[in-house]
Amino acid sequence: MTQQLENILEVNNLQTVFATEGGEVRAVDGVSFVVPKGKTIGIVGESGSGKSITSLSILRLLAKNGKVNDGEILFKGKDLLKLTDKQMRDIRGNQISMIFQEPMTSLNPVYTVGQQISETLIIHKKISKQEAMKQSVDMLKLVGIPSPEKRVKQYPHELSGGMRQRVMIAMALACDPEILIADEPTTALDVTIQAQILELIRDLQNRLDMSVIMITHDLGVVAETCDYVAVMYAGQVVEYSDVRTLFKNPKHPYTLGLLNSLPRHDVDQEKLIPIKGMVPSPHDMPVGCRFAPRCPVATQACHTKPPMLESIGNNEQIRCWMYSEEWDGDSEVTLYGEKRTVKG
């Protein structure tokens, strides 16, 4: 019954490494997910799990000491990793745009808002300055900035954080991209402003029919905005599914732990059980399952053999031994106060 969605972006087994003084660091190691056309996919995980590096890898905007080692990033069937720098520039800001976590510092302080939005338009649409400025005003209107004619002439320091994030959105959407990557777009903002910005992104997505990659550490944001979710842990995707399944029937112990540490009113929570332990250092990754040191049900095999990201059922992928034929633990386990039967 499920209709086959067209995937605008496919990330397969992405591996991104950084050269550091302490040796090579694999910040992203085997990340796979798909972005269906017109949908929002969330990438969720604790800080340091490699969400930003994943998105920067897609746009090939890594710092000088970082590089993509392996994998492919298929945008409309073409591998972005194989494009020339020039071809990649034509995609950035035009077909794939990005907004960032820090609205206060993401705009250039010495140019006006209008100049900065215009620049994107002039680069990609090859239109005149005057025309670009006119369209910049329209964009500011689109993102709900009052008196846009006045605002285009202002410098970033004259705007609040929420306004600046709206400007960033206007700039990102100026060329009508097919994918918007939003890296924690509301994390640095006040709670009330957060809701407005999320609402704006959702509204524009519907109107402009684009796909969104919503990066966040906040499952609340995922619940509100996403159609699909990739849960990341220590540089890997550990669970990928549609958002309903994720909240109703989470499978990976880490996802369960995350959900359990989130206060919810839709289900009875006996008590909040936090995930014990700490995120492993990228210099010292566990050899088996990366979550094993913190997992309440880890077995001997978990500590020695790394699990693969396997498809289970329809459009669902899990990286956990519990869901494989080789599971050597109990067939009934209790995870964060929840009993579940696993196949074995």
Partner: protein, 321 residues
């Protein structure tokens, strides 16, 4: 902004008064009787007494200072003890030579410093960067007078190292003639290099570190995410921000050249303010010494003021971030 300018202008008044007091006291800081020192060895008592009378040295110090400051405000700094000409005339004849030298030296150091700094930052941690920074370190640590003497040895006297021959065109460019008013730019070449080298090194290092800091900023990542080419990321987005602190250094450097060209002018026999000061000290012509020191100090204070104001102006958008 206007308030800031007015405040800074008012702040310079006590500084200028302090400077004038200091300059005035020069006369009393040297050991012995100023009139006797100025008159020179073997001068008769009568000559010394006349000089003392002429300079008003018999009055109490505060009366002398009052006279000094009231005429200074009117542009009268007294007369040279040696030539008898007004100090102001002596200075203005030399002033523009020093200004010219300082302007050329500033242009040279800005030109070389900016290019070297940008290249170094864009290629940081490559051999190019290391090479430029080593050269800059040399430029910074070389004493002016030493560089000047080396340049004279090599180019003016033609004693190139390793027995190399100097091509005629090069000799033509750097040859020195007796200096004076209306010096051709050719005579300025070696002194400008001497004076500007250290400045170029400072600007190169400053530009590099400022560029590196700016290149790491979030808005540079934003520019790249928009599809801006690497060239424009550097020249449109990074440079404009990175130059703000460099402008300050350039201004201060120019001020420093004006006051600090003493050695260079002496080595190359350029008749600028520095040379005038040195000669006056040698001849114990105190009114001239007072005059040059006062003029240089005032210029330095004013250049500083201008630099502060322009920095504030350029930094306005960033400051409030």
């Amino acid at each position: 902004m206007t308030k800031y300018i007015i405040r800074r202008l008012l702040q310079t008044i006590p500084v200028l008064i302090g400077v004038s007091i200091l300059v005035f006291s020069l006369m009393f800081l040297i050991p012995g009787d100023p009139a006797r020192v100025m008159a020179g060895e073997g001068a008769s008592e009568q000559t010394i007494e006349n000089l003392r009378e002429k300079l008003g040295l018999n009055d109490p110090a505060y009366v002398q200072y009052g006279r000094f400051i009231t005429s200074a405000v009117k542009g009268d700094l007294g007369n040279s003890v040696r030539s008898g000409r007004p100090v102001m005339d002596e200075i203005s004849a030399r002033f523009w030579i020093t200004v010219e030298l300082s302007i050329y030296a500033t242009i040279l150091s800005v030109f070389i410093g900016l290019i070297a700094g940008i290249v170094s930052a864009v290629r940081h941690y490559t051999l190019t960067d290391i090479f430029i920074m080593i050269i800059a370190l040399f430029g910074l640590s070389m004493p002016n007078f030493w560089l000047g003497l080396v340049l004279i040895q090599w180019f003016a006297l033609g004693n190139l190292p390793f027995g190399m021959d100097m091509p005629a065109w090069l000799f033509d460019i750097v040859q020195m003639r007796p200096s004076g008013w209306g010096e051709s730019w050719r005579q300025m070449v070696l002194p400008v290099i001497t004076l500007g080298t250290g400045g170029a090194a400072i600007i190169a290092r400053m530009t590099r570190s400022s560029m590196l800091e700016v290149i790491g900023q979030d808005y540079i990542r934003t520019a790249r995410a928009k599809g801006v080419s690497e060239r424009l990321v550097i020249y449109r987005h990074a440079l404009k921000n990175a130059l703000i602190p460099v402008v300050t250094v350039i201004g201060l450097e120019f001020g420093g050249f004006l006051g600090g060209a003493v050695l260079t002018e002496t080595i190359f026999a350029i008749n600028g303010m520095g040379r005038l000061t040195i000669d006056a000290i040698r001849q114990r012509d105190f009114p001239i010494v007072q005059g040059t020191v006062l003029v240089i100090s005032i210029i330095f204070v004013l250049v500083n003021l201008l630099v502060d104001i322009s920095y504030k102006f350029l930094n306005k958008r960033i400051d409030l971030n």
